[in-house]
């Protein structure tokens, strides 16, 4: 069962990365395509929390870094998607409330992820572009992701719900609520 779920996840990851470079290049805007892998990581964060999403982000990023047309310093997308997964996981309770907020989280995650990637390139001196061009690319990719998120998020959420262990579902929600409460209380104490 666990192996099957792992396989489903791996297949999804490969599908996202391959579709990004093969299928979407025909509809690319100035060469910019939607970040399918990033959307997958954000949905994982919304459904499973920051820890799981950070791990998935690392795997997805590494695949993006190493899979064929990539020719940048490996680890840059991995770093970006780890951060994206973790941050999206931290705001998951808000993101869960409605599709609109989930889509907005995807947009924010897209901005953060691509910016981290761009920034790491500037630091490493790897494949730099003028800042105005970089900004234009980042904005285009955010718009792409916002466009695709309403279609992808429900499907992926459903897939994650289906592949989740059976006995876990009810318990999970109870745990989340409990964490929510304790988290809120702690926050109140701090305040």
């Amino acid at each position: 069962m666990s192996a099957l779920r792992g396989a489903v996840l791996a297949a999804l990851l490969c599908l996202a990365v391959v579709a990004q470079v093969v299928v979407f290049r025909y509809v690319a805007i100035d060469g910019v395509v939607p970040d399918l892998a990033l959307i997958l990581v954000v949905v994982a964060a919304i459904d499973r929390g920051p820890r799981f999403a950070a791990c998935l982000g690392f795997a997805a990023g590494l695949l993006l870094d190493l899979a064929p047309p990539a020719d940048h310093v490996a680890g840059r997308w991995a770093l970006a998607l780890v951060v994206v997964g973790y941050l999206a996981g931290r705001v998951r309770q808000d993101a869960r409330s409605s599709l609109l907020t989930a889509v907005l989280v995807v947009g924010a995650a897209s901005f953060v992820g691509t910016s981290i990637y761009a920034f790491s390139g500037v630091v490493l001196g790897d494949g730099g572009l003028p800042v105005d061009q970089m900004l234009r690319i980042i904005v285009t990719s955010v718009l792409w992701d916002l466009l695709l998120a309403p279609l992808m998020v429900p499907v992926l959420l459903w897939l994650f719900a289906v592949t989740r262990p059976l006995g876990d579902r009810a318990g999970d929600r109870a745990v989340d609520r409990a964490i929510d409460r304790t988290g809120d209380e702690r926050a109140r104490v701090v305040l």
Partner: protein, 315 residues
């Protein structure tokens, strides 16, 4: 493994949620995992960036390429019939308009060809460059572009569906019917990664068609459809003229670029006051957004699983 740790995490979190104090909270565990993964990413970046051409990540790249490359080829092949869907919806009228436009363009081009002083000398010189390639020749292996790197990665690379099994190796010239496309930077058994000349990491030795002056062409990595190159001439006193053709001047044994491949045309000349040199902006002949069939220049003796084409290069 991810699942197992996830379950562990959940059971712990259930307990800690009950107790609310003591033991690692899920928050802390997530933070720890996050820190570890960030460190792992930074380690990989450092390893890959510091070691240059002999990166310890190369075996991993090859392994992933061997696995994902065929997936990309298969997906591209399956998806190819749909890429021309827009063509099916074009009306007769649109096609007729297109044809008359092309006819007009054709006659204009022919007129320009007759009018331009494309003298014999230039042709002879180009021929000379072609001959100097020597034994490398112009044997080619045809391939198709299956994947294009996203612009979010700020680099311009494509995957082609020919690899070492067809004789394609690192540092080989890639061109199409219009001109120079790029060079092979990495090859697996069935696929190869090509760095396009418009990428900011790409440097090509170029020669002006009219006065044979040499210089270096750097990609500008432009995000828009009109990728441009910058030509930096070795001799600063030379002013490139507009519409002059730039060809590769090639290097020893044709690695990584063979000589005499047309690259582009001089679009404008910019002189920077800071340096005394002049930069020429080159418009490449190749349309990089619509790459499909390309050819890789291979040595004559290449044996592979696909036919080696020998172009009509004078010997």
């Amino acid at each position: 493994m991810l699942r197992a740790s996830g379950l562990l995490d959940r059971s712990r979190s259930r307990r800690s949620a009950g107790r609310a104090t003591g033991g690692p909270t899920p928050d802390r565990r997530a933070r720890r995992t996050f820190a570890l993964l960030v460190l792992a990413s930074l380690t990989i970046i450092t390893l890959d960036a510091r070691t240059g051409s002999h990166s310890p990540l190369d075996p991993a790249r090859t392994a992933v390429g061997t696995l994902v490359g065929p997936m990309e080829s298969a997906t591209a092949a399956a998806f190819r019939p749909f890429t021309d869907v827009s063509g099916a919806f074009r009306t007769n009228q649109a096609l007729r308009t297109e044809m008359s436009r092309l006819k007009a363009q054709n006659s204009a081009l022919q007129a320009r060809l007759a009018a331009t002083p494309v003298d014999r000398a230039r042709l002879a010189e180009l021929d000379g460059i072609t001959k100097s390639v020597g034994d490398t020749g112009y044997s080619m292996v045809a391939a198709r572009v299956v994947a294009m790197g996203p612009m979010q990665s700020f680099s311009r690379t494509v995957t082609i569906d020919a690899g070492t099994s067809s004789g394609v190796r690192k540092d080989m010239t890639v061109l199409n019917s219009d001109g120079l496309v790029g060079r092979v930077v990495r090859a697996t058994e069935t696929t190869a990664t090509v760095l396009l000349i418009v990428d900011t990491d790409s440097v090509v030795g170029g020669r002006l068609g009219t006065n044979l002056e040499i210089g270096f062409l750097r990609g500008r990595g432009s995000a828009d459809n009109t990728g441009r190159l910058t030509l930096d001439l070795v001799d600063n006193s030379v002013v490139p003229s507009k519409d002059d053709v730039v060809v590769t001047w090639g290097s020893k044994n044709g690695v990584p670029y063979v000589a005499g491949i047309p690259i582009g045309r001089v679009e404008s000349v910019v002189s920077s006051p800071r340096q005394s040199s002049r930069l020429a902006v080159i418009k490449p002949f190749v349309d990089f957004t619509a790459l499909d069939v390309v050819a890789v220049v291979v040595p004559k003796s290449t044996q592979g699983d696909r036919p080696v084409l020998t172009a009509g290069a004078p010997k």
